[in-house]
């Protein structure tokens, strides 16, 4: 994997990072690469904050009764953990960082379609984050990230500013989605047909469709809850004939597709990194490309599976249940493709590959426990217990986070022109994979036992599994800390990576590392697909 020893690789003299070094040149940039880097900083801060809240929650659970925070504080902590992780980390993490950085390069464009809007999406994100932080400092909401009515419309905690922060953040998501859809449709380079697009682009395209169509509904429902909370008129007050279940329908209409916003980009990353790690073409390119669209489309029709015990009729439950079974098939197609890509490949075990292995296990386990909860009768026992918590953490942390980390480790050399210490990369990947299992497998068992979610105080019989889960979370913490350390060190002291340290056929590896301001020295013409290795021996080498 590392470039041939003994050869001194030249670091490019001019690239997007040193073309203009004033603060103003960063804050007013229109360069999609710089915007991607700024988003990276933002989402890492969000991850650190959300992760801190997670650790605080886990440590509270070391004992059944009060450990070191009060019930109200606990309820605020899990709300903030959910809000920050879902909206400020998971949704923007891959699209706004790696999508922004790489989509134009991958399609041979100099930038996205609307660069100023792109910069606006960053500032909208920061404004939403500032409002939410303000709400946090004033106590924060205690409703859970799902804001179910009538609790959210009647609680006296700082719900309205938090809703406003999320509402504003929704615009950032929509703008990013519109930008990518238009870019991919109109700015592909010569020779780049749809069926030659990198699979990461397909994944981001599917994600962008969901972002554009689903987020407005979230905006509306946040607005409605805020109006009811602040002004006392709204659609969900049972005393005036309102239906709290209507809130759930509107909320989940967005929030279920939202989970596909979180996982689809990670799947795109895995498609890219699997082909590069195995130096082999993707085993069934078309199936993967279409399955991204399939998830985007079918994912819109499954929201009611969050409401099996909410008081819906049996017909609704049946319809949503069976559609949920179908959406799982698209993931099965992808898993089959990725494993098939490894068959008869030329695999090198690198840090991204370690994350791929973790991803595969967690996606299948987490995804199939998703099928399990979609099996309606089983969900009656599992709904609102730690089983569901474990299921979605398997997908969001086990799979989506592994995808993010794989992307970070795969593309770090391209974005910053330097390599990181591979040994420490493998150590932290191992810690994270082990720590993840230790944290969340006990939570499946807790759910089976009947431990409900959002419980500050719990019956004593659940304690040993909680302690096990907390122990695992400390491993996770160390794994992440190590990553931040060696990546930070690599930024300054890492060896020059060269144009293509992985020997990948992806289009982004044709340009220097880090890329020049306008992405290419010469605009590329696309004569082959991005994952075609057959007959070539692309050797990793310098520019």
């Amino acid at each position: 994997m590392s470039p041939s020893e003994g050869v001194d690789i030249a670091f490019p003299a001019h690239h997007y990072l040193n073309e203009g070094t004033t603060v103003r040149s960063w804050l007013l940039t229109r360069d999609h690469k710089r915007i991607g880097v700024m988003f990276l900083v933002a989402v890492i801060l969000a991850l650190l904050l959300g992760g801190t809240f997670a650790l605080l929650l886990r440590f509270e659970h070391l004992t059944p009764g009060p450990t070191y925070v009060s019930a109200v504080t606990y309820n605020r902590l899990f709300t903030l953990h959910g809000v920050i992780m879902v909206w400020f980390f998971l949704i923007p993490a891959i699209p706004s960082v790696f999508g922004n950085f790489f989509i134009p390069i991958m399609i041979g464009a100099k930038d996205v379609a609307f660069p100023r809007l792109n910069l606006a999406s960053l500032y909208i994100y920061m404004f939403g984050a500032a409002l939410t932080t303000w709400a946090m400092i004033h106590g924060g909401a205690d409703t859970g990230w799902t804001f179910y009515t009538p609790y959210s419309t009647t609680t006296t905690t700082t719900v309205a500013p938090m809703l406003l922060g999320i509402f504003i953040l929704g615009f950032s998501t929509i703008v990013t989605g519109i930008n990518f859809i238009v870019t991919i449709h109109t700015m592909r380079g010569p020779g780049l047909s749809w069926m030659r697009l990198p699979l990461f682009v397909w994944a981001i395209y599917g994600t962008s469709i969901i972002q554009v169509l689903a987020t407005p509904v979230l905006g509306l429902v946040m607005l409605l809850v805020g109006v009811e909370h602040l002004f006392g008129f709204g659609l969900f007050d049972p005393a005036r004939g309102g239906d709290p279940i209507l809130f759930q329908h509107l909320f989940w209409f967005y929030s279920h597709p939202a989970v596909y916003i979180m996982i689809l980009p990670a799947m795109g990353v895995i498609s890219e990194t699997v082909a590069a790690a195995a130096r082999k073409n993707v085993f069934g390119y078309r199936a993967v490309a279409y399955s991204s669209l399939g998830i985007a489309f079918v994912g819109f029709f499954t929201w009611g599976h969050h409401m099996f015990v909410a008081g819906q009729g049996t017909f609704d439950a049946g319809a949503f249940g069976v559609l949920s079974m179908f959406v799982g098939i698209f993931t099965a197609i992808k898993v089959f493709t990725w494993v098939g890509t490894l068959y008869r490949g030329a695999i090198r075990f690198t840090t991204p590959f370690a994350y791929i292995c973790g991803f595969l296990f967690f996606l299948v386990f987490g995804g199939m426990t998703g099928i399990a909860v979609a099996t309606v009768s089983l969900d009656v026992h599992w709904h609102d217990t730690y089983f569901v918590v474990a299921h979605f953490h398997f997908i969001m942390v086990g799979a989506a986070m592994m995808g993010f980390l794989a992307a970070l480790h795969y593309w770090f050399p391209k974005m910053f022109g330097r390599t990181y210490h591979e040994g420490w990369g493998l150590v932290s990947a191992t810690l994270i994979i082990l720590g993840f299992n230790a944290t969340f497998i006990p939570q499946f068992l807790l759910g089976n036992m009947g431990m409900p979610r959002r419980y500050y105080d719990y019956p004593a019989r659940f304690q040993s599994l909680h302690v096990a889960s907390t122990a695992g979370s400390t491993l996770l913490f160390f794994g992440f800390m190590i990553i931040f350390i060696y990546l930070a060190l690599a930024l300054k002291y890492g060896r020059a990576a060269g144009r293509n340290p992985w020997g990948s056929r992806g289009f982004e590896w044709e340009t220097p590392s880090p890329p020049p301001l306008h992405n290419f020295e010469k605009l590329p013409v696309f004569t082959h697909g991005p994952h075609e290795y057959q007959g070539t021996a692309e050797v990793p080498h310098a520019a």
Binding site: P104, A109, K110, D111, V112, A113, F114, P115, I174, G177, I178, N179, I181, V182, T183, H185, T186, M187, V212, L213, A214, T215, P216, V217, G219, L220, V221, L224, V227, E228, F231, G232, F233, G234, L235, D237, R240, G241, G242, D243, L246, H249, L250, F253
Partner: protein, 210 residues
Amino acid sequence: MQPEGHVQEHFANIDVQRQAARLGMWAFLGTEILLFAGLFAAYAEYRALFHEAFVLGARHLDARLATVETAVLITGSFAVVMAHHYAKTSKAGMTCLSLVVAAATGLAFLMLHGIEYWHHFEEGALPGKYYSFPEIQTAGASMFFTLYFLMTGLHSLHVMAGVGVLAWLAWRASMGAFSHGNYNVVEMGGLYWHLVDLIWIFLFPLLYLV
């Protein structure tokens, strides 16, 4: 200004730029439709639950005033179409005038709608917990008016934004910015105004007529 539209650096040529702007605008209009869709869904549910109150409420609203408002908005849409035509044929003065007319219709709509709101405020037909209209007290009456205010209120906010967009376009037109080679922005602004009109075309019968 320039006879040809200015091609931004990252676009290959003016056609790609126009195509991108158009696609982007349509995607944005899609988000607006989804935004209102949630309210229409809520309307559907509560109408089914509180049929009587909704019929009484709809009858009580001022359908004649609303018809005038509809005519006003449609006039505005027509003016916008004319503005597009004049921009395409490089008639700067008429472009500006058409856009001013369209913006004026928007303001007229808002004023008429404000009169409606004022009537309801006076008689106590207000949303949610403020509902105190003695004439209609059937179950769900306050829900009808809550939906009425929320849907027309959100729509009116969009009309205000549309007026702003049209006014800005009118100002640019008066500076001679638009011509045969550069009228795309007028088209985009016009699309937004048409959407605002379209949403009202759906709101009007559902709230006032059925």
